[in-house]
C-alpha cells in the first residue's frame, strides 16, 4: 500500500514547463514601497488626479493594516521594501500595432502558446473560435487583440490603464465598489500599487461575440504583480472571460496580489474561468509565487448570474476565495474549483456565497487533489440574510490524497438566518484506490496514464464547466502535472 502511494506520488511529481525567463530591457520603479512609488506608478500611467488620490488613500490605509495570519498557511513574513512594484518592458509609450511589440515578448507568448497575433488566429484552423486576448507582461498590458471587432459590438475590452484614461466615468463608477479599498491587506495594497489589468464593459443586451482572455506573465525578478480586473455586464449582457497565468522559475518568492471585481446587472451573466499555473517553487519549496488574490462578484441585478471556474495548479502559496454577493432577486452564484498541490505547495482556497437576495441560489463544487508534502484547504462561507426567502445552496467538497505526507482540509462555514433556506453541504476524503489503478492498468494504461485518468475523472464536474478551449488546456495541464518520474 505504501508502495502504491509512493508510486502515485511520483507520478504527480512534475516539471514546470513554463519556467523560462525572457531577456528584455525593462524599466523599474525604484525598489521598495512608499508614497513616491505610488506616485511613480500613477505618473507612468498618465493617470488623472482622482486616480492618484484613490491610490494614496489606499496606501495610507494599508500602512495601518496588519498582514492576515491564517491558520493553515505557513508563510515567511514578506519584506515589502525588498521588491519592485512596477516593471515595464522598455518599449514605445504606446504600441500602435503588434509589429511594434518587442519581438522578445512576442516570442515569450509564442512559447506559451498564446495567440496574441490576430492574423495567426484568423488564419488558424477553420472553424476555431476567436478569442480576444489581453496580454499582461509584468506590470503592463502589452497587447489587446480583436479590438475593432469587439468595438463594433459595443464591447469595451481595454487594459485598465487605458480605460481609466478613456472611460473615466465608467471605471470610477465601479472601481472599488465590489471589493472596497479596506477589504483586506492584499486588496488594499493592490489599490495602491496596481499596475495594469483588464477592463471589460458589455453594454445592455449584448452577448459578447467571442471569449475574452487575459494572459498574465510575471517575468522580471523581485517584482510583484498587482493587476486589477474590472468587468461590468450591463442588463441582459453575457460574457465569458478566461484568465491564464505563468511565471519563470526563480529562487525568490514573488508576490502576486490581484483584485478582480465583477458586476452583473439584471439578467446579466458572467462566466469567469481561471487556469492558474504560476511557478510553484521546486520540490523543496524554494521559490514560487505567493498568490494572494481577491476576487468577488456583485450579482446586483435580478436573475443575474456569475460563475467562477478555477483550475489551480501553480503558486507556492495560494490564498484565494472567488466570491459572489448575491443581492439580486433570483440571482445565481456558482463556484467550481480544482486545486492541485504537490511538493511543498500550500493552497487555501474556496468561496463565499452571500445570499441577500430573495430566491438566490448557489452551487459550490470543490475538488482538492493533494500530493507530495503539500497542504490543500477548502475554506468557504455560505451566508443567508434574514430577508432572503427561498435561498438554495448546494456544496460538494471532495478531497483526493495521493501521498501519506500531504494534508487535505475542509473548513466550511454556514450561517443561516432565514428558515426558508435550504442549505446542503457534503464532503468526502479519499485516496486513489489501488483497485482503480490496477483495473485501469490491467486494461493497458501505464501508471501515469492511469493516475491522470482517475484524477481527471475526479475533477470532471469542474473541468466540464470550462469553455472548450480552456477545458482541453486544463486537462492537458492536469495530465502534465501528473507526468514525470514514475518510481
Amino acid at each position: 500500500m505504501a508502495t502504491k502511494n509512493a508510486e502515485a506520488h511520483a507520478a504527480v511529481a512534475k516539471k514546470y514547463e513554463w519556467g523560462f525567463a525572457t531577456d528584455i530591457e525593462q524599466d523599474f520603479a525604484p525598489k521598495g514601497l512608499s508614497e513616491d512609488t505610488v506616485r511613480y506608478i500613477s505618473a507612468k500611467k498618465n493617470e488623472p488626479e482622482w486616480m492618484l488620490d484613490w491610490r494614496l488613500k489606499a496606501f495610507r490605509l494599508w500602512q495601518t493594516m496588519e498582514a492576515p495570519d491564517w491558520a493553515k498557511l505557513n508563510i515567511p513574513s514578506i519584506d515589502y521594501q525588498d521588491a519592485y512594484y512596477y516593471a515595464e518592458p522598455k518599449a514605445k509609450a504606446t504600441i500602435a500595432s503588434l509589429d511594434e511589440l518587442d519581438p522578445e515578448i512576442l516570442r515569450t507568448y509564442q512559447k506559451l502558446g498564446i495567440p496574441i497575433e490576430e492574423q495567426k488566429v484568423l488564419a488558424g484552423v477553420e472553424g476555431a473560435r476567436k478569442v480576444a486576448v489581453d496580454a499582461v507582461f509584468d506590470s503592463v498590458s502589452v497587447a489587446t487583440t480583436f479590438r475593432a471587432e469587439l468595438e463594433a459590438a459595443g464591447v469595451i475590452f481595454r487594459s485598465i490603464s487605458e480605460a481609466i484614461r478613456e472611460y473615466p466615468d465608467l471605471v470610477r463608477k465601479w472601481l472599488g465598489k465590489v471589493v472596497p479599498q479596506h477589504d483586506n491587506y492584499f486588496a488594499t495594497l493592490n489599490c495602491a500599487v496596481f499596475s495594469d489589468g483588464t477592463f471589460v464593459y458589455i453594454p445592455e443586451g449584448v452577448r459578447c461575440p467571442m471569449e475574452l482572455s487575459t494572459y498574465f506573465r510575471i517575468n522580471a525578478e523581485n517584482t510583484g504583480q498587482f493587476e486589477r480586473t474590472l468587468i461590468v455586464a450591463d442588463k441582459g449582457a453575457y460574457v465569458s472571460y478566461l484568465e491564464g497565468c505563468t511565471a519563470p522559475m526563480r529562487d525568490e518568492n514573488q508576490l502576486h496580489a490581484a483584485v478582480v471585481e465583477l458586476v452583473a446587472l439584471d439578467d446579466a451573466e458572467i462566466k469567469y474561468s481561471t487556469v492558474q499555473n504560476w511557478y510553484p517553487g521546486d520540490e523543496n519549496g524554494v521559490g514560487g509565487i505567493y498568490n494572494f488574490v481577491t476576487k468577488r462578484a456583485l450579482c446586483q441585478g435580478k436573475r443575474s448570474k456569475v460563475s467562477w471556474t478555477q483550475v489551480e495548479t501553480g503558486s507556492a502559496v495560494t490564498w484565494k476565495y472567488p466570491s459572489c454577493v448575491l443581492n439580486g432577486e433570483d440571482s445565481v452564484g456558482e463556484f467550481y474549483s480544482v486545486a492541485v498541490t504537490n511538493n511543498r505547495q500550500q493552497a487555501d482556497t474556496g468561496t463565499k456565497m452571500i445570499h441577500n437576495g430573495k430566491g438566490s441560489r448557489s452551487t459550490i463544487v470543490s475538488k482538492g487533489i493533494s500530493a507530495g508534502r503539500s497542504d490543500n484547504t477548502y475554506r468557504g462561507l455560505v451566508k443567508v440574510a434574514p430577508g432572503a426567502e427561498g435561498v438554495r445552496n448546494f456544496t460538494q467538497c471532495d478531497s483526493l490524497l495521493l501521498s501519506d505526507q500531504c494534508g487535505a482540509h475542509t473548513v466550511p462555514y454556514i450561517e443561516v438566518r432565514n428558515p426558508s433556506a435550504q442549505i446542503e453541504h457534503e464532503a468526502t476524503t479519499s485516496k486513489i484506490s489501488e483497485d482503480q489503478l490496477f483495473y485501469a492498468m490491467s486494461r493497458g494504461l501505464d501508471q501515469e496514464a492511469a493516475v491522470a485518468l482517475i484524477v481527471n475523472g475526479f475533477a470532471r464536474e469542474v473541468l466540464q464547466q470550462l469553455p472548450m478551449e480552456f477545458a482541453v488546456e486544463a486537462q492537458k495541464l492536469l495530465g502534465i502535472s501528473l507526468e514525470g518520474s514514475v518510481g
Binding site: S442, G444, Q447, I454
Partner: protein
C-alpha cells in the same frame, strides 16, 4: 501459450498458491474450479499482475516471455485480459474514454496506429450490441451505478473491443441471471473461441460451462491443482461436491 510452473504466491505473508503448474495452448479453453478459499482469484490476480501478491517461487511465461517481470499494463499490451470478479467503479471517467485510452495505449506499445474517435465508437457500439448492452451505457462512468450483471456484461464488451489473445475470466458468471449467462457465454465463444486464442475460466459452479464448453477442467484445492479432466469432470464436481472429488 501460457506456462505456469510450480507457482507459489502469498499475500500479507500468507501462502495461497503452493506449487501450481498448468499449461494452456492456443485454441484451448481451460476451466479452474474449486471450493472457496482454494486460491482461484489469487491465481487470476497473480497472472494479471496485481500489486500485493508476492510470488515466492515458480515461473510463468506467456508466449515465451517472463510474465511475472511485466507490469499489469504490459501484460495487457502483450495480449492478456483479466475479467474481474468485482469490476471497479471509476467515477467521472466514461466507458468510452476509459476503453479508448486503454486500447490506444495497448496499440502504441505494439507500434500500431491509434484508433480515431469515430473508428473506436463504431467498434465499441458493435461489441455493445453483440452483448445486448444499451449503447448509452458506453457514455456512463465506468461501472458506476451498474448492476452486478451489467458490470459483468461491460467486462465482456471491453474484452470484445480489446480483442485479447488470452483471457482469464474470474467468476464471470456470478451475478448473472439465466438470460445474461447465455449472452455472456455466447460472447466468450464469439470473441475467444479461435485457434490462436485461449481462455482460463475461473468458476465455482459449472453452469457457465454449459455455454462455454471447456477442453480441460482442473480442480484447484489448497493452492495446487489436484485433478484434471475433461468437461465431464465439472458435472462430477457438481454432483459429488468438492470435498469428494478434490481429496
Amino acid at each position: 501459450m501460457l506456462k505456469i510452473d510450480n507457482l507459489h504466491a502469498e499475500i500479507d505473508g500468507k501462502a495461497i498458491l503452493k506449487g501450481l503448474s498448468l499449461e494452456v495452448n492456443p485454441g484451448e479453453i481451460h476451466a479452474i474450479m474449486g471450493p472457496n478459499g482454494a486460491g482461484k482469484s489469487t491465481l487470476g490476480y497473480v497472472l494479471g499482475g496485481r500489486p500485493g501478491y508476492e510470488v515466492t517461487a515458480g515461473s510463468v511465461t506467456f508466449d515465451g516471455q517472463d510474465l511475472l517481470e511485466m507490469a499489469a499494463n504490459e501484460r495487457a499490451a502483450a495480449g492478456l485480459f483479466l475479467g474481474f470478479q468485482y469490476p471497479v467503479e471509476i467515477p467521472g471517467v466514461s466507458n468510452v474514454q476509459f476503453l479508448r485510452e486503454a486500447l490506444n495505449a495497448q496499440r502504441a506499445t505494439r507500434d500500431e496506429k491509434p484508433l480515431s474517435g469515430g473508428e473506436f465508437l463504431k467498434l465499441a457500439r458493435a461489441q455493445a450490441a453483440a452483448l445486448e448492452m444499451d449503447a448509452e451505457m458506453l457514455k456512463r462512468p465506468v461501472n458506476v451505478g451498474f448492476s452486478g450483471g451489467e458490470k459483468k456484461r461491460n467486462e465482456m464488451v471491453q474484452m470484445g473491443v480489446i480483442d485479447p489473445k488470452f483471457a482469464i475470466l474470474d467468476e464471470t458468471d456470478s451475478g448473472l441471471d439465466i438470460d445474461a449467462l447465455r449472452i455472456v457465454g455466447d460472447g466468450i465463444n464469439r470473441i475467444m473461441r479461435k485457434p490462436d486464442k485461449a481462455v482460463l475460466l475461473i468458476t465455482h459452479y459449472q453452469r457457465l460451462l454449459d455455454y462455454v464448453k471447456p477442453d480441460f477442467v482442473h480442480v484447484l484445492a489448497d493452492g495446487r491443482i489436484t485433478r484434471t479432466g475433461g468437461a465431464e469432470l465439472a458435472h462430477e464436481l457438481e454432483r459429488e461436491g468438492y470435498t469428494q472429488v478434490a481429496a
